[in-house]
Symmetry: C2
Subunit: 466 residues, 2 copies
């Protein structure tokens, strides 16, 4: 049996929806990984049973401790192993005898640490295959399923979670944490999370294939720095991209970055990033991001906005300078900026100030109020030659900005074209205006380049899918 | 007399340190530009005299109103004109008779609006030259000098200001506002600000040349979208760069962006950005930024950190994935990553955990505590083959992060090499840790790519200057 074949929709279900989680190497000492995982599961109200395992204690955080996995009374779907690397093969055999389905090996000291570690990792994989156990790790954080019906926080880190629609795969736990944390700051919710370290068995390909068929996942952020099979990864990524937006961050494209990746997760860098000089295959229609921030910002657009039907964007702005920046970024990102059709231009000339620029970008001027903004947005959304709108709004003190926000949100919600909003403002003084967008579920961007890059990503994904 | 020659250190002093400011077109109506400028000057405690001018009112916001500029009793260094475009020539003549030194023409409807506007702008420039008045604008916001001894907020916008060391030139007022606002959010102070719109007289070149000799300016952010003389701009920019870090944002490099820039500020796009396909001259050693956010983040490093003596960077991290991203970004930004010298490597091997990676990036592991971090940083700062350190720190729950912060700040402050700190954390849970960096005047970055790009900018500037 080749357990490395990417799984179908069923394969990983017990991993993300375990009926029970055992922690082998559970600890009563605070500030240890074997304590923190249990605390996280309890704090997050995990829906299943929690079984601490160690030979010493009777109880940890109010939970009965079992001396070994074999002595746990009920079935065990998922196990964390946090013991020393050399103890892992024996423990894994016990898990196999117990009928455990999935193991997260948090412990380090495997492939990334040299020849002995490589041999140990091979032994561990062999035992897992013998018993049909699927592995996450070693040298990893674990998984999270933030679905409120499950709340499986099988991870020793700290990031708060809010249920949502973005799933994160990050080979590096640190990078995964930063992505998760940044999404929290941006008030975006998490769906599922995997940080798989050395990825000796379950790999990125398996996880993203599973999420491609998960109805709760609207966008996937995927960070990989080493991969066993770059061409296979590309094929999987392309298949996943046809079902879900897949936002790729693939560092290690310089020689120095690649060397660091080898030390870190012990494999070969992919060299798939378009930033890399030796990329063996063209990037195709995949979405690559150079940084964490850019990927997080784009993911927000995929969660909240419909996809455009084409690459023709219209920019509406009350400050010309932002329009110039948007134009550059949209063109560079593969969009076009068609001029308003004759009939639309005529209508616009009747409602906008005479000094307004009826072009694309359209500058409605800083004096434009709720009426001008509403009509301009409404006309552009109805144009046949417009697939998406990027709306830039700097909040002037002499305009009823809350009303602009209310009308924008109303139009954006009823349109089947995406409206990406850039709100250039002081977050403290225009708090109420921003709250209207947030409550209306319309993501706002702070700078024109950020909004334009998010719309370009939305467009690239949508156009690639046609 | 050619008033367009870039000014020396003295030339613009009365603009930024006016003894008095008159607002021609002052208004008693709230939410008008002619009211807001006066309110801003009073709110910000401007040190000089404020003279509202209009033929109707006796008093505005407690200040005596004068019917014309000629009737103001004292000398007038700086005038705002907020009246209709066709009235500007007559008003400017009155200013000339009064002996006014500088005029900010906020009014739009000049070069950017077509042939009549071009002619009107030429008339206005002619009158200004006749009387030796220097002009900011037309079609602009104005200027700010945030020096607490002056507090000249000659601008109709809203951004709070804190005195600091970054000066901002932005042709677009909207872009200038976003930059200013973002720096406020980042708790960075402003030195001086100019948004000059059509720039019919005083241009970017004049302003940045003045700031190059301003002891209070440590870094200049400069946004220009159209310029009369790109080659002259480049020469000035290179001269300024030899004195001060000059962070350039030059949009309008696509055909569509260029067209938008022509509508907006009525000139020709520069095509100087390295992003542009038609850039006529190589970028040389100038610092170009593709976005507002990236420029703001780099400016912070220039304000708070010493310059490196060379391009050899050392990365210390407790999470390998961040190290890979840093390595990529530093190499791409022109840095090198030398391996630790033999003696340093030996010392490190004695103090770090055996599983740590003694390389560059150096992975001290998540379990590294204050002692390990302090020693690793101290050793790298003392290495002859290291010019700068990028320190990545994800805040583990089992480490005394406050102590790591205290020791890092202490070492960073006593070193003459820059230490760029990336702190990957939850801002709410690790508030105290972040406060230690803030109080220690050490800028922190949230993502590895952001910190690495800032260090790369610091390095490019420093190396270009040698």
């Amino acid at each position: 049996m080749d357990t490395r074949t990417p799984g179908g929709a069923e394969t990983l279900t017990p991993l993300f929806n375990p009926r029970s989680v055992a922690v082998i190497g559970a600890s009563s000492r605070e500030y240890t990984i074997g304590n923190r995982i249990i605390r996280n599961l309890l704090d997050m109200n995990y829906s299943g049973a929690v079984y601490p395992v160690n030979p010493k204690d009777a109880e940890i955080l109010g939970k009965t401790v079992y001396p070994s996995v074999g002595e746990i009374p009920g079935p065990v779907d998922l196990v964390h192993i946090v013991l020393k690397n050399t103890l892992v093969p024996g423990i894994l055999t016990q898990c196999g005898e117990k009928g455990v389905k999935f193991c997260i090996i948090n412990t380090a000291g495997f492939r990334e640490s040299g020849p002995e570690g490589i041999a140990l990792e091979e032994t561990v994989v062999g035992i897992a295959r013998e018993y049909g156990i699927r592995l996450i790790g070693p040298n990893c954080q674990g998984i999270i399923n933030a679905d409120p019906a499950v709340n499986a926080y099988c991870n020793f880190t700290f990031t708060r979670q809010k249920p949502g629609a973005i799933s994160i795969f990050a080979q590096s736990g640190g990078v995964g944490e930063v992505i998760n944390n940044r999404l929290c700051e941006l008030d975006e919710g998490l769906r599922m999370y995997v940080s798989s370290g050395n990825s000796c068995d379950i790999r990125c390909e398996d996880v993203i294939s599973y999420w491609a068929d998960d109805p709760g996942t609207r966008a996937i952020i995927c960070h990989v720095e080493t991969m066993a099979d770059p061409e296979g990864f590309l094929r999987t990524a392309e298949a996943v991209s046809r079902k879900k937006p897949l936002l790729l961050i693939l560092p290690g494209y310089t020689d120095e970055g690649a060397a660091a990746a080898r030390f870190h997760t012990g494999g070969d860098p992919s060299n798939l990033s378009p930033e890399g000089t030796n990329a063996p295959m063209p990037a195709g229609n995949l979405l690559f991001f150079r940084g964490i921030e850019e990927a997080c910002q784009a993911a927000r657009a995929f969660v909240h906005l419909p996809l455009p039907r084409g690459n023709r964007a219209s920019v509406i702005t009350n400050t010309g300078g932002a329009g110039v920046i948007c134009a550059d970024e949209l063109i560079r990102g593969g969009c076009t900026l068609p001029l308003p059709e004759a009939e639309a231009a005529r209508e616009l000339s009747e409602i906008l100030f005479p000094e307004a620029t009826i072009s694309n970008p359209m500058d409605v001027l800083a004096t434009a109020g709720p009426g001008e903004y509403e009509k301009a947005l409404s006309i552009m959304l109805q144009c046949d030659n417009v697939d998406s709108v990027l709306l830039n709004f700097i909040t002037p003190f002499f305009v009823d900005c809350d009303d602009v926000a209310r009308r924008t949100v109303a139009l954006a919600k009823e349109s089947d074209k995406p409206v990406v909003c850039v709100i250039m403002t002081d977050r403290n003084l225009w708090k109420d205006t921003l709250a209207i967008f947030r409550e209306g579920n319309v993501p706002v961007y702070s700078t024109p380049e950020e909004g334009a890059r998010a719309l370009a990503a939305l467009t690239r994904h949508a156009v690639a899918g046609t």
